[in-house]
């Protein structure tokens, strides 16, 4: 079984984020792995470990995949310490300004040539917050879509997979044959801490760097030229102003209720 795990580099959430000319200013924020993607990595490793392990001499290979700036190599190196076997970084200046469909097309091009059986994503990136890439990827490569999983079970003999999809409305059990695109929700598992041994081993693992030409994509169909949406303007929202602040001296409940009534909220 070949498992690809899509992970995204995002700015550290503690840092103040800013847009410069409609593009995230990544220069001043320290990049980290999108936190939900750690659950995707853990799930991929668990699936492989349950079915004969992964790496040389085993039937499985777990590959981390990311599209991002060259600095994402450091993020991939760190993520490899969780235990995946290798990583691929798609990086190309022409990819700057990609919108979501463009990102999905690029990831799809790589997945298609890789002979993968399963692709595992997170459900949402903390910077874009779109929750669209996994569904787009599935549509683009024409694979089964098994998204918003909070439980996954793989049957290697029948090459089928069943997930429990969790949404606001319902819990659905969905099954499909390989190959499939999966996305996992936070809390599907408990991501492990990399051991010292794994951190050392990660230093020797391969991170292949690919560009658009290698993937057979041309610059007009992806990146800012291929994007179907454009940012016209971006402004910091006016900061929220603190309003009244009172101490509770036993009657503040009434003051609050009056305040809410006056604003016609209740």
């Amino acid at each position: 079984m070949r498992i690809a795990i899509c992970i995204k580099q995002v700015p550290d959430t503690w840092a103040v984020k800013k847009l410069v000319d409609g593009v995230l200013d990544r220069a001043n924020v320290e990049p980290v792995i999108n936190s939900i993607d750690e659950y995707a990595i853990e799930e991929g490793l668990l699936i492989a470990e349950k079915h004969g392990g992964h790496g040389p001499g085993t039937p499985n290979l777990v590959t981390l995949v990311s599209m991002g700036p060259t600095s994402a190599e450091a993020m991939l190196r760190k993520a490899l310490a969780f235990g995946a076997d290798e990583a691929i970084l798609i990086s190309d200046e022409k990819l700057a300004g990609s919108d979501a469909p463009s990102t999905a097309k690029v990831l799809a091009a790589l997945i298609r040539e890789g002979n993968f059986d399963l692709v595992i994503c997170g459900t949402e990136s903390t910077d874009a917050r779109m929750s669209v890439i996994p569904a787009m990827l599935a549509a683009q490569i024409g694979w089964a879509q098994l998204t918003f999983a909070n439980y996954i079970s793989v049957n290697l003999e029948s090459k089928t997979i069943e997930i429990r999809r969790i949404t606001n409305e319902s819990i659905d059990h969905i099954s499909a044959s390989f190959p499939a695109v999966i996305s996992v929700v936070e809390k599907i598992n408990e991501p492990r801490y990399p051991s010292f041994k794994e951190i050392m081993a990660a230093k020797k693992k391969t991170i292949a760097i690919r560009n658009l030409t290698d993937l057979g994509l041309d610059e007009v169909s992806v990146g800012s030229l291929g994007s179907w949406s454009q940012v016209k303007s971006s402004l910091p929202s006016p900061p929220r102003q603190a309003g009244v602040l009172m101490n509770d001296e036993g009657s503040v409940g009434k003051v609050l209720v009056d305040f809410l009534k006056e604003k016609q909220i209740i």
Binding site: D127, S131, V132, Q145, S234, L245, V252, V257
Partner: protein, 314 residues
């Protein structure tokens, strides 16, 4: 006038409030066609419920495949309609279902997509509030049709009476969209409270509750609101993860957000700071939640809730 489509969503057989908001947004832009994708029985029932807003046409796409194959089947049906009608835009609710259908639709129809918008003007300038409300972005879509998902609570619903015409067709999903089958489905057990992301009032508790959410639930019920929680509270197992508000939880934008025993970490704010009015109760006067609260109370949350309860119970 150009046509604009609205994808109708329902829960438990009822049209959602967010769908009504979509119709309101769409009414300011073009001639509105509401698309209902469901079994023929429920499609007809839902059509009866579209009574308000500027809706010109209701189009029913009936099929059993939606229940069996979900997102890919919906997306295929909607794509067929988009290709036929070439609308200037199609609007979805920013729910999991809405966003995933929108996502596939973008790929199938080669259309630009903007998610989680708070508004669209007649020139299709799309407003989004990003990075947890710290930045306001205006975007445009350059393809023939625009796909836009809108956050709940972003507009006051239009109450004018709708007098739409109704049309319908049946649909069958093609094999390439039947790769994943829904083998069983159970509704999420719901408290008798509104759904968190769309609720008009949210009462949220954090570590300061020490696990006692009962007084919060009482106030939520008195106000007809939903209950939310910080990650500290969900991590402690005091409230289910699906009620977490914040960067790795739900984004809410209610008319009123009441934060009780929540310090106001940036990851929590990311999910609630676009709320119209914020009330915070915290016994630490330095808590950073007060920086964004319209009404802050320094005190014990249980004492304040008790007082509020007295005021609200006749």
């Amino acid at each position: 006038m150009k046509e604009i489509l609205v994808f109708v969503e329902a829960t438990d057989g009822k049209l959602t409030k967010a769908t009504h908001e979509l119709v309101t947004h769409a009414g300011g832009i073009g001639s509105v066609t509401a698309l209902i994708c469901a079994t023929s029985e429920s499609a007809n029932e839902l059509a009866q419920q579209i009574t308000q807003g500027k809706v010109t046409n209701i189009h029913l796409i009936t099929s059993n495949d939606f229940a069996d194959y979900s997102v890919p089947a919906y997306a295929e049906a909607v794509a067929q309609e988009m290709n036929k009608r070439k609308p200037i835009a199609i609007l979805f609710t920013s729910s999991i279902l809405g966003k995933e259908i929108a996502a596939r639709l973008a790929i199938i129809t080669h259309s630009g997509i903007i998610t989680d918008a708070s508004g669209v003007d007649p020139e299709l300038n799309i407003t989004q509030s990003i990075f947890g409300g710290s930045e306001t972005v205006i975007s445009q879509i350059s393809t023939e049709s625009a796909i836009i998902t809108l956050r709940p609570n972003s507009i006051t619903p239009d109450l004018t009476r709708a007098i739409p015409s109704i049309s319908s067709e049946s649909f069958r999903a093609s094999d390439e969209n039947k790769l994943a089958k829904v083998v069983a489905s159970e509704p999420v057990a719901k408290a008798n409270r509104p759904e968190l992301s769309g609720a008009r009032i949210v009462v949220s508790g954090g570590r300061g509750t020490d696990g006692n959410f009962t007084p919060l639930e009482e106030i939520a019920d008195l106000l007809g609101g939903a209950v939310g929680a910080s990650r500290a509270a969900t991590d402690a197992g005091w409230y289910p993860h699906s009620f977490q508000v914040g960067q790795t939880g739900k984004t809410v934008s209610p008319d009123l957000y009441i934060a009780l025993g929540i310090s106001g970490a940036i990851q929590h704010r990311a999910g609630m700071q676009t709320s119209k009015t914020i009330v915070a109760v915290n016994n630490d006067p330095e808590a950073s939640i007060f920086e964004i609260a319209d009404f802050g109370i320094v005190g014990d949350l249980f004492s304040v809730l008790e007082q509020v309860k007295k005021e609200l119970t006749p």
